[in-house]
């Protein structure tokens, strides 16, 4: 018959009171233990949404950085009366510009880089034409030769200059279906659009002759939805060499150092080359991307604010319940101490030390709380979702998800061993806290006073 027996028998002696106390405390503990899983459930439910928004913002930022800072500079389109196979057709061509004429562009401080690109097609020349079959019909088309500066310093900063990347905007965005894309430092190699590869009857690793120069095929680009484009991609210098356009480009890709400076750069280029150069910015992309970004950021803020708000509400409610629980325990135990003053006197008369008395009363509080904690954890587990809905109602307009695989997130979280142990730990801690002062009062009662107590 140790201190534990005495404590438990004392509890059992006042069954109705103990039962009432356990019911109240277990409900309080059910709230305390089920709210954190609800908070976690809310956070988990929102994480997907938040991730999606963050992804959209990041993608929007990347798109802004990669594309929106790009400013195309070329000489205006010219009408060319075709002298080649289609003699009676007038076509529009972009004249080449001399790269050296625009060397001064790099002196504009807001410009990060100037990258020349070559798009060569020559409707006058028969060898640019070829026949291809599509959907059972035979067509006649002509080739475009893309000269791309494959310098590592460009590609690192502006991967979009590589064809077929997601952000490449010059031509089709079809994926490489065989072999690989162009890489930094590639010379003497080509990536062929599929129809042209068929025309050359070439596969990856084969050699093809283009305008009198042999190239190794390193990749094939799919035809996709746009079979009218017949692109050959190669290093800029190779392209310049075979097309006799050394030192020339069809356009200069000017990259501003940041999106906000695009207008400044555009104006400065126009000031510097007022007559000849056509300057085109991706304003629409910038505006759309900025708009999207702002929208996503606003949504993200709203969602995070809603999650924070729910979390704060839950924490406040938990705080109130904790205070209420400690207060209930405090008053019940204070009443018990007052009621059992004579018993305390008897124990002291028999030689019980203050720590023995303190221990017995605290143990009674802890046992009561622990029983309430076990019941509370069960109630909290079964009713986690209901308690969550009652105390922290979730708004429906920001896409909260409350179930995973058909199981309630809050209940799933609540059944985690750490929450069950935490619930019991909280019960013990609150029991100890609530009964500490009454137990201390009991321990400090002077024996003579205790014996006089009626």
């Amino acid at each position: 018959m140790g201190i534990l027996t005495r404590a438990s028998r004392n509890i059992a002696r006042r069954k109705a009171r103990a039962l009432l106390l356990i019911v109240v405390l277990s409900l309080a503990l059910a709230v305390i233990t089920s709210l954190p899983p609800n908070i976690i459930a809310n956070q988990q439910g929102n994480q997907g949404l938040i991730d999606q928004m963050l992804g959209a913002i990041q993608s929007s930022s990347e798109r802004l950085n990669l594309t929106a800072t790009q400013i195309d500079c070329n000489l205006g389109l010219q009408f060319l009366h075709n002298q080649g196979p289609y003699k009676n057709v007038t076509m529009m061509v972009t004249p080449f510009l001399n790269i050296s004429d625009y060397a001064n562009l790099t002196s504009i401080p807001e410009i990060a880089d100037v990258i020349p690109m070559l798009l060569y097609w020559q409707p006058d020349e028969e060898n640019f034409y070829f026949n291809f079959t599509y959907n059972g019909y035979t067509y006649r088309g002509f080739m475009y030769i893309w000269g791309i500066p494959l310098e590592a310093s460009y590609l690192e900063k502006f991967p979009s200059v590589i064809p077929t990347t997601d952000t490449w905007t010059f031509s089709t965005k079809e994926n490489i279906t065989a072999g690989r894309n162009l890489e930094a430092g590639d010379r003497g190699v080509v990536v062929l659009q599929e129809f042209i590869a068929n025309y050359f009857n070439a596969s990856v690793g084969d050699t093809v002759n283009i305008l009198g120069q042999n190239f190794t095929v390193v990749g094939i680009q799919g035809t996709g939805r746009y079979p009218q484009y017949f692109d050959i991609y190669m290093n800029l210098e190779d392209a310049q060499k075979i097309t006799n356009t050394t030192g020339q480009a069809s356009k200069l890709l000017v990259f501003a150092d940041k999106v906000e400076n695009v207008d400044t750069v555009e104006n400065k280029i126009k000031e510097q080359y007022p007559e000849r150069l056509e300057v085109t910015t991706n304003k629409a992309i910038i505006n759309q991307a900025l708009e999207n970004k702002a929208e996503w950021e606003k949504n993200l803020q709203n969602t995070q604010a809603a999650v924070d708000n729910l979390k704060n509400t839950a924490i406040m409610e938990m705080g109130l319940v904790v205070v209420a629980q400690v207060a209930i325990m405090l008053f019940v135990m204070l009443y018990a101490v007052r009621e059992r003053t004579r018993e305390i006197g008897t124990l002291k008369a028999m030689g019980a030390s203050n720590s023995t008395i303190l221990g017995q009363f605290m143990l009674e509080g802890i046992i009561l709380s622990l029983i309430a904690g076990i019941i509370g954890v069960v109630i909290g587990t079964v009713g986690a979702s209901a308690i969550g809905n009652l105390l922290i109602p979730r708004p429906t307009d920001v896409g909260f998800e409350i179930s995973v695989g058909g199981q309630d997130v809050a209940i799933l979280a609540m059944t985690m061993p750490e929450f069950i142990l935490a619930g019991l730990g909280i019960a013990v801690a609150l029991g100890a806290l609530g009964s500490l002062y009454p137990a201390w009062r009991a321990a400090k009662i002077r024996p003579a006073e205790a014996m006089r107590h009626e």
Binding site: M1, G2, R6, R9, N10, A12, R13, R342, E343, G345, T346, L347, K348, A349, M350, G351, A352, S353, N354, T356, R446, P447, A448, M451
Partner: protein
Amino acid sequence: MNEPVLKIENLTKTFTLGKRKIQPLSNLDLEVKRGEFTAIMGPSGSGKTTLLNLIGCMDKPTDGRIVIDNMDIARLPESQLCKIRRDKIGFIFQNFNLLPYLNARENVELAMELAGKFKEQRKQRAKDLLATVGLSGREQHRPQHLSQGEQQRVAIARALANDPVLILADEPTGNLDAANKQEIVKLLADLNQKQGATILIVTHDEKVAAHTRRMLFLKDGKIIDEKQGSKSSPS
């Protein structure tokens, strides 16, 4: 036998009630020798219970010395006093003060448990002590299932549990009917005579006091008279 178990010198106790000071005991001297069966008598308010509380280390004196078993307890801290109450003193109360959630044996055992005695040892001694007070076979009964006389017997067994040097009994027969009163007084007298227990009993009942060897009369906080009782000493 002549060795004093209790020696009190110039004992004074003063209470303050608001602005008023009450002095239930004033410069009281007393000596109780080992094996004595002493009664302290006096009218209500004479300071009997205050004296018993001070001897029992339940309260602290305002002035004077209280020496129990050669130890001056008057200025000891509570942490020491509880050990003296546990090891050297046995209490018997008017209201028995048994713990209602423990049975008779457990009530007796509790005193030994507080003294750190081993379970088997205290269980056997509790059984023996209950047999001594005539409660064999009633060990498992809780106080509410015992008569008042039986409850007081359990309380006596409990008081003897740690083999104290001094047993203090505060009106031990105050709540008992005549028959039980007689039984309990006889039991105490037997304990004194057969086991040599030193017993200090506070009572206002002359019939109870008559069973003791020595009667002290307390009035206004002082011992005003002393008589030798009719009973012989255990020696």
